[in-house]
Amino acid sequence: MVEFLSLKDAVTKYLKSGDSAAFEGFTHLIPHAAAHEVIRQGIDELTVIRMTPDLIYDQLIGMGLVKKMIFSYAGNPGVGLLRRVRDAVENGWPRSITLEEHSHAALANAYEAGAAGLPCAVFRGYLGTDLQRVNPNIKSITCPFTGEELAAVPSVLPDVAFIHALKADRKGNVLIEGILGVQKEAVMAAKSSIVTVEEIVDDLDTHMNATILPHWAVSAICEVPGGAHPSYTQGYYRRDNKTYIDWDTIAVDRGKFQAWMEEHVLKQDPGVFADRIKGLEVTQ
């Protein structure tokens, strides 16, 4: 049954050192505020899961909180490589991490299978690729009707799923609109889920087939306006592409990175996100 909590209390209550956590968001609705709160609380030894690790996983990994990353595309979209991830993988700084690498199709199916309560996902994939050579969690299964060999990967079943959504109503029903990604699946597959939202409203006021997570399918809701920045929230504010582009010059250098984290994350609280979206607002 859902609770309305501060982001600080929600993270303290649900995420423990050593947990597996999925901070999902497919360009849209990336839960930056939640990741920063985890970094402030220094919760470590995490296994982090995400189709498209970008800045927040660069930051979690650069701060040494991650022991393993399960992923399918680790880049700063349209900009380039993730400098902190590279430094961890290539040089073991600040610690070495284990990678479990998949394709998007595999992880999308693995989230779907997790939401569906299945132990594994079955799909047509990895044909002729080297990924199954380096990832023992890619196996195969034979169709009992046609004999076709299909790919199988374990379901994604995180301890905690973090997502950002547009809004919740006062009962705790959560609305996601626009680019949906795998966030609904992440929440349904996880043992617990923390959802940051732009606002809490009387009425979700949307379409009869809209993507809504019922209140009893979510653990905690935290009102954090701007909580996706520099990602965006459909109908609220636009993606801050410049911040993504600028990240490359910060993350390339260990010292610059550490200073930036100190100033923009460790010394802050979730309230700063509301300021960060000024000038990016969408007029509806």
């Binding site: 497919f26 360009t27 399918s72 880049g75 998007h104 199709a105 799909f123 044909l127 690729t129 990604g181």
Partner: protein
């Protein structure tokens, strides 16, 4: 040859755009493929369906997205579906006529690497990884590739098979149980390449204006095959160039003026 001034990058985007038709349903990779697909849409193929892996179907962005999930893609789409649905129903379901990919490394049989340079466990450069590409390469009805030529990118042997092209050539793809055609077209900043019908080795079928065979060979690590019937790529038309430049200008303005303008 046209009297218009244009860069090799512009020629690449425009040549790539010409390969697409009004009836294509195109799964669009970010970067050069995205530019090519949108030029096609803004010129000769206004009814082309562009699909991005973020779930946007039939999108018509006014500026090029920086990522595969910019808001512009959703705002202009026919509809937007979840990512699992995108990969299950639309890609794996065989609805995509053309998957349009970029690459970091490619070999003569159009196999692609976007995972690592060097050894996987101890890489020289850790690249972003495959993302959608492994299954785009196998589930799309055919694959077009666009990338700039360089010895670092056009290699004798790729370090990692992220996406299977034609393997070791010939019928290797069919022997792997992959039913789709695979790469049928490569458009670079210097030339247009197609796989040989039998050996599947990439063969230069058309040189871009102002390019020579020597220049092509200098940017490729293997001995390049040229078609006996080598063509010259028609230079960009004035319309193509102006559409491309206007799109790039709108895109640059949108990204620079990010925090100032309101939508």
């Amino acid at each position: 040859m046209s009297d218009l001034d244009f860069t090799p990058d512009e020629m690449m985007a425009i040549a790539a755009s010409r390969a697409l038709t009004n009836t294509d349903v195109c799964f669009v990779g970010i970067g050069p493929p995205s530019a090519a697909c949108n030029i096609a849409r803004l010129t000769h193929a206004p009814d082309i369906t562009l699909i991005y892996e973020s779930g946007t179907i039939g999108t018509a962005p006014d500026v090029l997205p920086l990522s595969i999930g910019d808001g512009e893609l959703c705002d202009t789409a026919l509809t937007t579906v979840s990512v699992p649905e995108m990969f299950r129903y639309w890609l794996q379901g065989g609805k995509i006529t053309v998957g349009f990919l970029g690459a970091a490394q490619i070999d003569r049989f159009a196999n692609i690497n976007t995972t690592v340079v060097g050894d996987y466990e101890h890489p020289t450069v850790r690249l972003p990884g495959g993302g959608g590409a492994p299954e785009i390469a196998s589930s799309s009805q055919e694959i077009y590739i666009t990338m700039k030529q360089s010895k670092r990118g056009f290699v004798e042997k790729i370090d990692f098979f992220t996406s299977f092209g034609h393997g070791e050539g010939g019928d290797h793809r069919a022997r792997m149980g992959i039913a789709s055609k695979g790469p049928t077209l490569l458009i670079t900043d210097l030339a247009i390449w197609k796989p040989d019908p039998v050996t599947k080795e990439l063969t230069v079928v058309s040189l871009h204006p102002r390019t020579t065979k020597e220049r092509v060979q200098q940017t490729v690590s293997w001995a390049v095959r040229f078609s006996d019937d080598l063509q010259e790529t028609p230079a960009p038309t004035e319309e193509e160039l102006s559409v491309l430049r206007a799109l790039k200008a709108r895109t640059a303005a949108a990204q620079a003026g990010n925090k100032v303008e309101t939508a």
